[in-house]
């Protein structure tokens, strides 16, 4: 199986995902935060480059997610959006 260029592909963070235990999770209702830094992908500032937030590496997101108490289980990377599946 070899995906063509541009095909979304999956990366699994095996270290976290292998031994996860949700016994202490107690309810589902989520909090949803959506922060826009430009009105569209087509209006990014020159200083952000065409990739914008997508240029931020995983380790940097990990530092932010630590404060949220989430860990990355896996990621689907694609040209337009990166979808992170998180713990808890």
């Amino acid at each position: 199986f070899s995906p063509s260029e541009g095909t979304p592909h999956l990366t699994i963070n095996h270290d976290v995902a292998a031994d996860l235990d949700s016994s202490n999770a107690f309810e589902g209702p989520e909090k949803l935060l959506e922060v826009w830094f430009a009105s569209s992908p087509g209006t990014l500032p020159t200083s952000a480059g065409p990739e914008g937030l997508k240029s931020v590496d995983n380790d940097t997101w990990v530092s932010m997610l630590d404060m949220v108490h989430c860990k990355i289980l896996s990621v689907i990377k694609s040209d337009a959006v990166d979808a992170y599946l998180l713990s808890e």
């Binding site: 309810e27 959506e34 500032p45 952000a48 914008g52 990355i72 337009a80 959006v81």
Partner: protein, 379 residues
């Protein structure tokens, strides 16, 4: 929990006792580092090089156990204060019955001070956005959210590890193997067939075929099984949405999360070119506080599946005792509907859902978005 990172925005949806808003300041600093406009250091508010957002949305359903929450998440009042201390021009709303299953929203107005020079590559894509008094906004910006409580016990059982393991065993039997292969083939591998799941430690970005392994974690493997068996993988099948991909995880002893990415319409289909879309599903199946959420920004009607069909499909998977449907949709112009015409979001949400009685129907007309909220109970 899930996070979606686009070039221009980030969506973070977190469950349980996570402290979502405590990551906000770090997020703003990361965005500043990534090159987005930022404000100067402010010792009082600790806003060192924090990027200035174009706009912010924060929403949540009322919590079942607010006392167990941490940080500013114990009450809506505290969350609003935290957001007001961080952003200017925010507005907070409660949608739905105060003594029932209500929903909260915090929204800021578009920041018109952000008028960055465009990157050369971006000039063309501006033509598909539509300019309004509020600024430039991409067309087809809509989000559908279905929040379901009191799930049917038989449906909820599917998201228990013990049940999913039994299903997986059946699938791996000789007879079922062929059926599974056929099912996966017919869906174009939407839910990531087990043999195509690869494991890359430390997020190394190798092409899949360089270090492919045919084993995933148990959580991912069973998540894939559950996606297929419960019908989730058929919501956006690759036969209709080519290139769609799902990443699912079944927690131990129970609980389920899935993300999906759906490529936008192709120009040669005669449809408007748009960004990659997403959907996400989270399930807490425990009796007494069972809950499931479904969220997507795939435009309703794109390639044939209407918003009403999506709602029916999702509700059928969980058969909740109660659920709310929220459609948040950007207006497409200063006077988009014409005098006397109902807005598209309202037209798209049909009233009736088989087997359910509609209790509430609430419409919010924001500056540049419409919000339609509906609440249903099982008949």
């Amino acid at each position: 929990s899930s996070m979606f990172v686009f070039p221009h925005k980030i969506i973070l949806k977190t469950c349980g006792t996570t402290t979502l808003l405590l990551g906000l300041q770090r997020l703003l600093r990361i965005a500043a580092t990534a090159g987005f406009p930022f404000c100067k250091a402010s010792a009082a508010k600790d806003l060192r090089a924090a990027a200035i957002p174009y706009r912010v949305f924060y929403s949540r359903k009322n919590f079942l156990f607010p006392d167990k929450q941490q940080g500013p998440h114990r009450s809506w009042k505290q969350e609003v204060k935290y957001l007001d201390d961080t952003f200017e021009g925010g507005s907070a709303y409660m949608v739905g019955k105060m003594n029932g299953d209500h929903w909260y929203l915090y929204i800021t107005s578009p920041n018109k001070t952000i008028t960055p020079p465009l990157t050369p590559e971006s000039d063309d894509s501006v033509s598909v956005a539509d300019s309004t008094a509020s600024g430039v906004r991409h067309a087809n910006d809509e989000t559908l959210e279905i929040l379901m409580t009191d799930l049917d016990p038989e449906c909820a059982k599917q998201f228990q590890l013990s049940h999913a393991s039994a299903v997986a065993s059946d699938w791996l039997s000789a007879e079922a193997h062929e059926a599974r292969h056929e099912a996966v083939s017919s869906h174009g591998g939407l839910a990531t067939p087990l043999a195509e799941v690869d494991v890359f430690d430390n997020f190394c970005d190798k092409p899949m075929d360089e270090s492919a392994q045919d084993v995933s974690t148990e959580g991912h493997a069973l998540g894939t099984v559950v996606s297929e068996s419960c019908g989730l993988s058929k919501i956006y099948p690759t036969s209709v949405y080519p290139g769609a991909r799902v990443d699912a995880f079944l927690f131990s002893p129970c609980g389920f999360s899935a993300n999906g990415v759906i490529p936008a319409s192709q120009p040669d289909h005669g449809e408007e070119l748009g960004p990659m879309h997403y959907f996400t599903v989270h399930v807490t199946p425990e009796p007494g506080f069972s809950y499931a959420s479904f969220e997507t920004n795939v435009p309703g009607g794109q390639r044939g599946r209407t918003t009403a069909e999506i709602i029916e499909h999702v509700v059928e998977i969980f058969r909740p005792g109660r659920f709310s449907v929220t459609l948040f949709e950007a207006k497409s112009g200063a006077n988009p509907y014409g005098r006397g015409n109902e807005n598209p979001a309202m037209q798209r949400l049909v009233d009736s859902v088989q087997g359910y009685r509609r209790i509430d129907r609430i419409v919010h007309d924001f500056e540049d978005y419409d919000l339609v909220f509906r609440f249903y109970e099982r008949e």
